[in-house]
């Protein structure tokens, strides 16, 4: 019986980057995956539309749990709004590092929106705290039983510290949600990994659906070389970053390079969030890559020797230095201040490690503008070198395919990407893995049919008896078994027929099939019998064929008797009789006998 299980795509995400929020119904359980916000909007559109989930009634009643894959705001930004303002009291699952870092980011986000932009009707600090109280932290590969039927399990996803992929399982139906993941390791995190869990559905991000990336080493080497050269020249290097994630990777990269090459120029990191976050990076060593994990006994790599906290006054210091400053797009704050100070000197350099939104200073200088108009009609001439260096931590097309190969899902669903690019990947997935692939739009619901397997208990005695009959047990092939299926109290049991009879208090009835086969044979009855016996003996070598003294023949438990036809002595009637257990052999014998006896047997 095909069983219906629907996975519906909820309020956010779909073919869009930002505002991840997916609703999954699996075997009657409803799970919300991620609860992100959109950076681009400042109105209602920034949060997912939760009224989509349920029009009337409380969310808590409808949702069984919420899972957050990692701490980026486009995956967790709407969480306090959702739990405190809309109202949800059920469990929220995330990994330990995510639980630790998430509130820092939310608080920062709140500060910017409320304190700087002066918005009202936004969640408060207390709300963030209350929200975090509802969070249940999980370990990697720990199976968490949400309720009796629903269980979830986290897998390592790379991307950022604490990012995880989640397997959601009800009975034997399962979904894997990847969140954002990275299949190539970097300087501080390992690669995503999943076992062959063969889920019914894999929900994968597809940010780089149409890209196959070059090796990371070239980029790293370029980056280091540029920084090194500038520093050797006596220039200053500015690297605008977002506080968390890539920043740590670049720090590790520079820190180890400084250590290796014995460099002395100072590296600064503008303070703020970072110190707190670095603290957590130090704590969650088990979530980092092999190198950091192996060497932390001697020295924790996040205890930077060469990287110090930045002070505003340092920007005017003479001599070479490297400064990491926020924000990443050079649109405001410390990074812009430093940029203005250093832009005039051609010895200096700014390295943009990520994408810049149109309209920001970062975007302008990247597109080659050398004269910038600052506030107050000031013209800033940019003489410093401008470099772009992309360090992205998403899986590329090859990585996505690799993950699909590892997990072997029966269906794939692509989210978090652009429709056109996803189309290409979808086609590839269908072509190479022969599985269905879906790419729903925002708010669209996708339903997937599964073939759930139904576990049945079998008694050991019966299993042993039945396996002993056939040849060697073969893992891959289905096996035929005889028994009685008892469905009682919501459980299935396969028992031997004797036991079933006993349990149900029924008497055993025997069912016999008999069949008459007419054969033209002028000889005597017992001679015909003998001929039939010889014939069967010759054909059925593996069975025990016996000729009984009373002239009847037995093949295993099937009885064959030859009698003369009452009217026509030339025709003999073969009476074949078998029980229903021997149906297969019995019908085979009849068809065999119907073909007649070979003439040559005298």
């Amino acid at each position: 019986i095909p069983h219906l299980s629907s996975f519906s795509l909820g309020p956010g995400a779909g073919q869009d980057v930002g505002r991840s929020c997916i609703l999954v119904s699996i075997a009657g359980k409803n799970v919300m995956l991620d609860c992100g916000m959109h950076m681009g909007y400042n109105d209602d559109r920034r949060f997912p539309d939760f009224s989509y989930i349920t029009q009337n009634g409380r969310l808590t009643d409808f949702l069984d749990c919420v899972i957050i894959s990692h701490f980026h705001l486009d995956h967790c930004g709407a969480l306090p709004y959702f739990s405190e303002m809309v109202g949800y009291d059920g469990p929220i699952y995330m990994t330990h590092p995510t639980k630790a870092i998430c509130p820092i980011l939310l608080e920062d986000y709140r500060k910017i929106t409320v304190d700087k932009k002066g918005e009202t009707n936004f969640f408060t600090s207390q709300m963030i705290k209350d929200c975090m109280k509802k969070v249940v932290a999980v370990h990697l590969h720990q199976t968490v039983q949400v309720d009796e039927e629903l269980e979830i399990k986290a897998y390592y996803a790379g991307h950022v510290l604490g990012a995880a992929m989640f397997q959601i399982k009800v009975g034997c139906e399962s979904v894997v949600y990847t969140g954002d993941y990275n299949m190539t390791p970097d300087r501080h995190l390992g690669a995503a990994w999943i076992d062959k869990c063969r889920p019914d559905l894999l929900i994968s991000e597809s940010t780089y659906a149409t890209t196959i990336r070059d090796s990371k080493r070239c980029r790293e080497r370029d980056f280091l070389k540029k920084v090194h050269e500038t520093v050797e020249r006596g220039g200053k290097v500015l690297i605008p970053v977002f506080a968390l994630g890539r920043a740590q990777e670049l720090c590790i990269l520079l820190e180890t390079f400084w250590e290796r090459m014995n460099l002395k120029a100072p590296i600064y990191f503008s303070t703020g969030l970072t110190e707190k976050a670095n603290h957590y990076y130090k704590l969650f060593i088990t979530w980092t890559n092999q190198k950091i994990r192996k060497t932390f006994v001697q020295r924790n790599m996040f205890e930077f020797k060469h990287i110090k906290a930045f002070d505003r006054a340092y920007a005017d210091n003479p001599g070479p230095m490297v400064v990491f400053a926020t924000p990443g797009m050079l649109h405001a704050g410390q990074s812009l201040q430093i940029f203005r100070k250093w832009a005039g000197n051609e010895k200096n350099m700014v390295i943009m490690p990520g994408y810049c939104v149109q309209g920001t200073v970062g975007h302008k200088i990247l597109s080659g503008q050398r004269k910038l108009e600052m506030e107050g009609r000031q013209i800033l001439e940019v003489k410093m070198q401008v470099e772009y260096m992309s360090f992205s931590a998403h899986a590329d097309a090859k990585g996505i395919m690799q993950l699909i190969r590892q997990a072997e899902p029966r269906n794939v669903l692509l989210v978090h990407g652009e429709a056109k690019k996803m189309e290409f990947l979808k086609q590839k997935i269908e072509q190479e893995f022969h599985v269905n692939c879906y790419m729903p739009a925002n708010g669209e619901t996708t339903t997937i049919f599964t073939n759930p397997c139904i576990p049945v208990d079998i008694s050991l005695g019966l299993l042993k008896r039945e396996t002993a009959i056939g040849l060697l047990p073969d893992a891959k092939k289905p096996k035929l078994m005889h028994g009685t299926l008892i469905m009682k109290d919501n459980s299935f049991r396969l028992v031997s027929s004797e036991q079933a009879l006993k349990e149900l208090g029924l008497a055993e009835h025997q069912l016999r099939f008999t069949c008459r086969v007419h054969i033209q044979d002028p000889r005597k009855e017992h001679e015909t019998g003998l001929r039939v016996y010889n014939h069967l003996k010759a054909i059925l070598k593996d069975y025990s064929v016996q000729h009984l003294p009373d002239g009847s023949i037995t093949v295993e438990s099937i009885l064959i008797q030859a009698t003369a036809h009452s009217e026509d002595q030339g025709t003999k009637v073969l009476l074949v009789s078998w029980t229903y257990q021997d149906e297969e052999l019995g019908s085979y014998l009849t068809s065999l006998l119907k073909k007649g006896l070979p003439q040559s047997t005298a």
């Binding site: 190539t184 999943i194 149409t210 196959i212 290796r260 470099e387 690799q402 073969d474």
Partner: protein
Amino acid sequence: MAAHLKKRVYEEFTKVVQQQHEELSAKKLRLAKPSKSAALHVDLCKAASPADALQHLLHFARRPVEAESVEGVVRILLEHYYKENDASVRLKIASLLGLLSKTAGFSPDCIMDDAINTLQNEKSHQVLAQLLDTLLVIGTKLTENPPVRMRLVEVACKHLTDSSHGVRNKCLQLIGCLGPVEKGVAKEAESQSAKDVQKIIGDHFSDQDPRVRTAAIKAMLQLHERGLKLQQAIYCQACKLLADDYEQVRSAAVQLIWVLSQLYPESIVPIPSSNEEIRLVDDAFGKICHMVSDGSWVVRVQAAKLLGSMQQVSSHFLEQTLDKKLMSDLRRKRTAHERAKELYSSGEFSSGRKWGDDAPKEEIDTGAVNLIESGACGAFVHGLEDEMYEVRIAAVEALCMLAQSSPSFAEKCLDFLVDMFNDEIEEVRLQSIHTMRKISNNITLREDQLDTVLAVLEDSSRDIREALHELLCCTNVSTKEGIHLALVELLKNLTKYPTDRESIWKCLKFLGSRHPTLVLPLVPELLSTHPFFDTPEPDMDDPAYIAVLVLIFNAAKSCPTMPALFSDHTFRHYAYLRDSLSHLVPALRLPGRKLVSSPVSPSITPNEDPCQQFLHQSLERVYNLQHLDPQGVQELLEFTIRDLQRLGELQSELAGMADFTATYLQCQLLLIKALQEKLWNVAAPLYLKQNALASAAAKQILEETYKMEFMYSGVEGRQVVIIHHMRLQAKALQLIVTARTTRGAEPLFGMCEKFLQEVDSFQRCFISELPHMQGSFVDKLLDLMPRLVTSKPSEVVKILQTTLRQSTFLHLPLPEQLHRATANIIEPTGESDNPLRFTSGLVVALDVDATLEHVQDPQGTVKVQVLYPDGQAQLIHPKPADFRNPGPGRHRLITQVYLSHTAWTEPCQIEVRLLLAYNSNRSKAAKIPKSTWSDSMEALPPSENGIEGTIPFSKPVKVYIMPKPARR
């Protein structure tokens, strides 16, 4: 004969002692035998509970059992086995049976039937598995007996249908280890079960239990190892196993596929879902490449490693491994490597990167992009980017092996190797530098690649820098800018790390001699000469200036026009450097008056080295002059030794040879001197002093012979004979001296006997060499042997004395290559005045860094010795991992030595030095006769010639330490 005669000597002198001893040991044996098995029997019978019996068995297993009593013990165990109801006790008994059959000298065929019988009625799967294991042990001991093996294999086949994975596992293992390998025998003699072990094992490739599947593959591999040619049909099955759910199955399957690809590289296999066909080795290569991105890192390591040894793969597939087919937004994108190459070839080398410089160009046909099933595509790119460094190292190693066999691939993989120089793990960086060095004769570095390579010179790790210098020694550079760049970076390195001086000079030496034409245009700039003006003379002691000169002089060697560019002071500096750093500065043929500095006369052809000639001439002189009067011989020997020693100092290539012969002559000289003592015939006690000299000589000769035998690499059998012969002479001398100095014959008995034993073993070891030793000491001695063994010690001594005097001087043939093991402690330097302070009773770690040259098997032989001022000596065995091997014949020891001592009142110096340990059992002498003597030699008791000792082979370094009393 000799042995027989020797026995009579024993009887005569040491009758009583010997017999008593034998008597005693025999008794012991007899007592032990019955007691042990009997005790076991009693114990087992008494055992009240299974746990009790188990205890007895465990206790019993701790002691060894003599070979003669094994069978008895086995019977008792079996008897108990049948009676025992508890499975765990039976299991222990079964495992004991296996343990007992391993006993050396016991042939287990007598218990095989019993062991097989026990299988019949056994119900417990665990015990069954253990019994099969026992059978495996028995089988492996009886490999020479085909019927037994066949029988065991049949037993195993019977139990293959068991429902327990453990039993099936063991069965497969047994079949793999004992299955018939020789085709002919199997077919004619044996039943059908034996005929096709491959099929039987192959059937279990699809077993339901992953452990059994693994065991099946392993058994197949075992068969292959034992020489059975696997059938090609297995290939398909093995390919299916690559997609198994379990990593150990996949890992084993990768191995199997590799084996098959080596067996049938040229067979053709179809590509599924198309009607094309490819070579099997290519197909297998593609499949293994695919496994480089497997989910389990164990499999990835395995796959990456095996790729390296698939050299028959076609170049088309090979080059795919480095191509990942980049794209961005469905448009083809060039890799950074390709862009770099283009930039380089377009001549515009350093351009600041603009945003979008790497913007993708052409559109890609979406249908043609193959994302995953592309076989070899990008396998190495993935492997080198793997998160586990084990995989990365394996990938680098594989790259190295493949590049060594394919120059075009070497050229292609260069970019990737260069990238690996920036790996986060030092081991990987080091490995890739070594790899690059190994393939360096196939490649020429582009300038941009050189740039990246040179950037690593600033690495703070000494290992990395030295490996890089080593690499630069054998790198081909394409342009003069490249050479300049390399020089500049090396000089930068020199200023940053002055300790690298020697290594950098050496590197520049090779760089210069490899690229004379590229250096030529750089000379004026490098020497900062000016066509019109005189420039100031550079400081001769500046290491950087020396470095430049080393480069130039070595280039000038094969570039005769270069010296014309030198200024006057350069010639002066040349003369100075040629003398002070002769190993770095070659002899140059300079024009005109400057020729003085070069000792090379033009008449000598280059392939006949004058030094070599000198060496041989002086040796011949010595060997010819042996009939001169003793005084003359002594003088000549002394002069020759002096000459040789000086030669060794001057010519580093000949140092080993010269030292070796000098040592030998020194021994000879000592021997002659000792024998020349005129007072030998006078009563001993009056001339104690003289005897002291002779005994000292004997002792020194002994020491020197050990040095000769163990400190030189390249010593061959012929030399070993001579060395041993010299040692024998020294021992004879010792014996004579002892005989002179001691009163009474008692202690002499033992000594004489020992000496004769040694003569005997010498004869046995070197019987093949004896014909070459006409007229030598041992030759004469062997002639006299029958007399010697019957004579009294005093007579023996007399005979020895005369033989020693009459014997001739043996010619020491020289091997092709001879190198003396040397060690140089770099750290500690011994110059520090700051004592190393530590609390007494605790330990302090002292970093020791040393270079070793020409040491064979340093892990086993090199030791560190620490001498404390109170005479206490401490011997430390460094860990095998502390030795690195930067180049052939060279090793580097970087280790930590832990020091500790009780409190001192003031700081004092301790001495640290390296020792070379030797053990004459493991010596070359023991290896040589093995070819001629097979069995009798092995039976020799080890004590006879098992002398262990150490030779100091480095200068001691003093370290100032100060253990402070602990503060309370």
